[in-house]
Amino acid sequence: MSESLLVLPLLVAVLTVAAAAFDAVLGASAAGVPGAWRAWDAPLRETARLLVRQRRSTLAADRLLRRAGVLVLPVAAVLAAAVLPLGGARAASDMSVGIVWFNAMEVAVWAGVWLAGWGVNSAYPLVGGYRMIAQGLAYELPHMFALITVAVGAESLRFSDVVTAQHDLWFAVQMPVAFLVYLLSALAMAFWGPMSSPVGADLAGGAAAELSGADRLVFSAGRHAMLAVAAAAAVPLFLGGGAGPLLPAWLWALLKTLAVLAVLVWTAHRLPVLRMDRFMTFAWTALIPATLLQLLVTGLVAL
């Protein structure tokens, strides 16, 4: 335990707001809003708007499940961030099974979305919940093979060991397929951009369609936080952690995180949403063999 335990939620919050602000500016710019950069404060106004708003109650809603589901998102994001090394500083909890812990927190998000979608007792959110589970089935196996490849390359499940193992060559270069699959699953963890069908526009907001006021605020903040944490995890996993010339390690880690985050946010504006029935086939017939092959190659090198 260290002081990073106190800093951590704050760091996640800052990255969350940064992601939301960048997303708002990109959206305004694509929509041709004059002076698009002025949209940077959209997340702050949205927060103010949701804070003074009534909650919406649907008939026969399961309030406990809904609240639990909504709350899982930010909690899982912060807990997942707890195992990430912050540049030069130690992680809040540099546990020996850090990669497994990270993966477990990310799967908790599925439960959160499903419970929130189920709990409000309305058809659109329910279908959104179905889609989250389908999405999980599609991306989770390739994602786990990508993480296992990293663990094999580093011969450890501890994040700090993974960073040390990239002293000579970043894993993004050593195992490019795993890196690309990880970026895709980073989008899926936060059901963002091309992987956002659980909260899709075609379902009037899907799992979030009936959320209002504080519920929507926590749900949305948790989702942005998960995206930020997924981007931050890419740095120790594939981009050498805080390694870099001249600048201090923490600054390198921050810069790399922001770069990955920017790419993820930008992707959302440049790609259509993937339909899960289509993506499922692709994931199981193309991504799983590709990641297995990557794992085999990495395993042979590690031997």
Partner: protein, 392 residues
């Protein structure tokens, strides 16, 4: 000024409007979309998300009722802007934003709302259902009286046939369940299935699905108040899971008076409008926004040629879009060929042959999942403009 008033004022600078398209008033919708873009207000997708309801034109009686239901469902603070003509749009939106910032008016509105029950922590009404413990529950805005559950506490009857609840259809609710057939063999005493109509709702019906599994059947209305959806269209899906088993199509009309907006003189703008809806439903938000900007430019007759060409090229080249659209069948064509045809027309190429007849919408939708069904409706882009209410 208190904290709440400050937050209201700050938030009112960027409200999230739910835009309701009305058949026959396309011009008003386009004016609203352009004005929202100028102000930087991002449209909402659902009543729960929105704090501003914008009605583009004069709805007919049925559509007006549906809109009122949606208005009832919106949590406070809220504002409504009715714009009967395009020239009313700026002033209506200004007034709505001012109303959202007005703390006393919002408090009064919230206090006077009879039909909307916001969730409060005190609301623990435990109803007495005999032996069954339903826990805490909230009654929502839909005015269900408490039903007499005592009458349903019979033991071991073979089939309980509850009538479909007569909910006014409302775009975003999914509660029009129909009867509740055959519970065979309750072994005496109260069974969980015996709760009959909890909260005044009949239980969902069950039927075998396409894989032979018993699944709940839900009757879910899409439209008439739904983002990126043809004006006034209402399709009631019979869903199992997210697969459409049947679809019933209705048209809710606008009030008479307005002429036809897309009269064939501005094909490029009309196709860009349809394409914007399709791209938005496909989740390609950036490209959908581009299409709307170009559409408004085309209507003003000053379209940027290079930008239009870039738009056409990028849309056509998108492998992901093609992958998502090409299995959505429209009879002889599919959603991708349809979109490609529009792109060809926008790019000024020869008009493709559009004579291929498409089967009725209700038939095409059966067997698709909701995502494909939404793409299909957007690609088919049924003409709802002509629907006009008959004056009584």
């Amino acid at each position: 000024m208190g904290l709440r008033a400050r937050l209201l004022r700050y938030a009112a600078g960027r409200p999230r409007p739910l835009v309701v398209a009305v058949p026959g008033f396309t011009g008003v919708r386009l004016a609203v979309e352009a004005d929202l873009r100028r102000r930087g207000w991002r449209p909402a997708l659902a009543p729960a998300e929105a704090d501003l309801l914008i009605v583009c034109g004069r709805p007919g009686p049925d559509l007006a009722r549906a809109i009122d239901t949606v208005w009832d469902q919106m949590p406070s603070p809220r504002a409504r802007a009715d714009a009967p003509t395009a020239s009313d749009v700026p002033s209506a939106l200004d007034a709505a934003s001012a109303h959202l910032a007005d703390e006393p008016a919002q408090l009064e509105d919230a206090a006077q709302r009879a039909s909307y029950t916001p969730e409060t922590s005190m609301d623990h009404s435990t109803m007495d259902h005999g032996d069954m413990d339903h826990g805490d529950m909230d009654h929502s805005a839909m005015g269900h009286g408490d039903m007499d559950h005592g009458a349903m506490g019979h033991e071991g009857h073979e089939s309980m046939d509850h009538e479909a609840m007569g909910h006014e259809s409302m775009g975003h609710e999914a509660m029009g369940h129909e009867g509740h057939g055959g519970h065979g063999g309750h072994g005496g005493g109260h069974d969980h299935h015996m709760m009959g109509a909890p909260h005044g709702l009949a239980m969902a019906d069950r039927a075998p699905d396409r894989d032979g599994l018993k699944l709940d059947v839900l009757h879910v209305p899409f439209g008439p108040v739904l983002a990126d959806w043809p004006a006034g269209l209402k399709v009631t899906f019979t869903l199992q899971g997210d697969v459409v088993q049947a679809a019933e199509v209705e048209h809710l009309a606008g009030d008479a008076g307005a002429g036809r907006f897309w009269d064939g003189t501005n094909v490029v703008a009309a196709r860009l409008d349809a394409l914007a809806r399709l791209l938005a439903v496909a989740g390609w938000t950036g490209q959908a926004a581009q299409a709307r900007v170009l559409r408004d430019q085309a209507l003003d007759g000053k379209v940027e040629k290079a930008r239009l060409e870039k738009f056409v090229r990028r849309t056509r080249r998108s492998r992901t879009l093609r992958w998502m659209l090409q299995d959505v069948g429209l009879g002889e064509t599919n959603a991708w060929t349809r979109a490609s045809g529009w792109l060809a027309e926008i790019g000024g190429e020869t008009r493709p042959d559009t004579s291929a007849a498409t089967p009725p919408l209700g038939e095409l939708l059966v067997g698709l999942d909701v995502a494909a069904a939404r793409l299909l409706v957007a690609a088919l882009d049924p003409d709802t403009e002509g629907a006009v209410a008959e004056h009584v």
